[in-house]
Symmetry: C2
Subunit: 319 residues, 2 copies
Amino acid sequence: MDEFGLIARYFTRSPRGSLVLLGVGDDAALVAPLQAGSAYALTTDTLVAGVHFLSDAPGFDVGYKALAVNVSDLAAMGARPVGFLLNLSLPTLDEAWLARFRDGLFALADTLALDLIGGDTVRGPLAVTVTALGEVPAESALRRDGARVGDRIYVTGFLGEAALGFFLRAGRLELPEAFHEQVLGRLDRPIPRIIEGQALRGVASAAIDISDGLVADLGHILKASGVGASVDLHRLPFSDAYDAAFAQVGFEAALSFGDDYELCFTVAPDRVEALNGFMSRFPCACHYIGDITADTGLTLFDGAAPYTPQGLGFNHFHE
Amino acid sequence: MDEFGLIARYFTRSPRGSLVLLGVGDDAALVAPLQAGSAYALTTDTLVAGVHFLSDAPGFDVGYKALAVNVSDLAAMGARPVGFLLNLSLPTLDEAWLARFRDGLFALADTLALDLIGGDTVRGPLAVTVTALGEVPAESALRRDGARVGDRIYVTGFLGEAALGFFLRAGRLELPEAFHEQVLGRLDRPIPRIIEGQALRGVASAAIDISDGLVADLGHILKASGVGASVDLHRLPFSDAYDAAFAQVGFEAALSFGDDYELCFTVAPDRVEALNGFMSRFPCACHYIGDITADTGLTLFDGAAPYTPQGLGFNHFHE
């Protein structure tokens, strides 16, 4: 079977979204114009075997996560996901692996009604690039540069569980068996917060998804917005699993690892009431963790004492 | 320098195109809505070191070609290129190489006034993925499935020179020194036919770019359109360099190698006059090479005798 057969056999399906005029199988995909005021959001992430996932990771999880991390970026813009392109670099043609990869990819794509609209399959070291396309009202897209002094800082869901999954799998963490599936699932199959992201349009002043850890990602908001922040570590939302691991990982797994794909966002004081009005109906809870300050930089407090993160931050070229 | 610094330092520039609302530096790029009737075209290709380019290939050429092959796909749709995303997988942070890569990438991007609107930089085996975005009137996009019996088949430019460059570099071809720069340039820095592609809207009934060789790529048009073709090999456009190599490569370098990134397109009889009206003003010549037939499959003629290609076709999973 040649590469064209491979693409056709595994990945070609008829597009269902009304915005997709032409999907897989031509020189380019075509997507329809949007109504005035709407913009297409485009984002792309590459996952490399041995760097972003284990070389022997289940195909299902690789497929799921490659799409999830990109959809998470759309969520962080407040965008509605529309479709995606898939670039797959494969060292060999392992049809069984590929079938599981596809199952994982489409498990998420089908849940979100996302169309695969194009891509490329090549021979090479195992790596996956997904480029995701979303739709968002241009004026209310959630950017990184809108945080202002006095805004409150929130995060969705729980922090640090993906880190626990990573350290558990690496044999570097003791954790009651009852939590294993939960933390490994959070690492392998993160849930992009697209409902929350869209609900936050017009409410959040800035937003980002937490892929590199709260310190790094909140730091991007602070830098883009030209402000600082104060975060109370005792307000960080921890799950029971995290509480069980706290003696081993402290705050670090929540602060510096990433891979949680929760949203971190800021809300101006006059929008807090609006947030409180619908936050309780979110699929996941949101937690207020700190405030935007005029002093630049991020200051963390463990009670009254400033806390300096140890830095497990995942940074591809950090020596 | 961390990965964020790397992206910022090498690749962040302010977008100049009016369609780009938000470029590099947020969770996603934002592109403006188009006027009714226009569609965005999206295409993506991955180039892997050791597969699509030599591992020691000059950074300039890798950057140029990674963008060129994607822009070529937009040309084959008749689209006007707008912008692109860049995914770069690098084994080490070689700033000198990266600077040359950027120079090659932006040499083409600047020529075409293309904005880099997003991307991802990761540690991994050397590989480049570009996702290109273009704009095209939806109804006159050049698709693969529009060829009809009786249409004429054309190609732009010359065929087979990229193959000559490849075989020359591999030490498998004797060629007068005077042609070396020409054929290596055609392999390393192909010229996407975007002017021709846009001019062919409303004139060509189908189009594709020749990345895998005329036999394979014309074959895609035939399959998508449910027709066959007859091609006269004596009509194939050969350069002086190709003529000089003909005794060694015969027709095969033109038929089965690819990497030329010329356009192959079909024109209905009643549109031939329109084509002739502007074809002479193209940057490159177009040549009539054969006809669409009712018999499925592609029949090649060397004079009166049918010719069977030997198949140098570049196919990533072909055994």
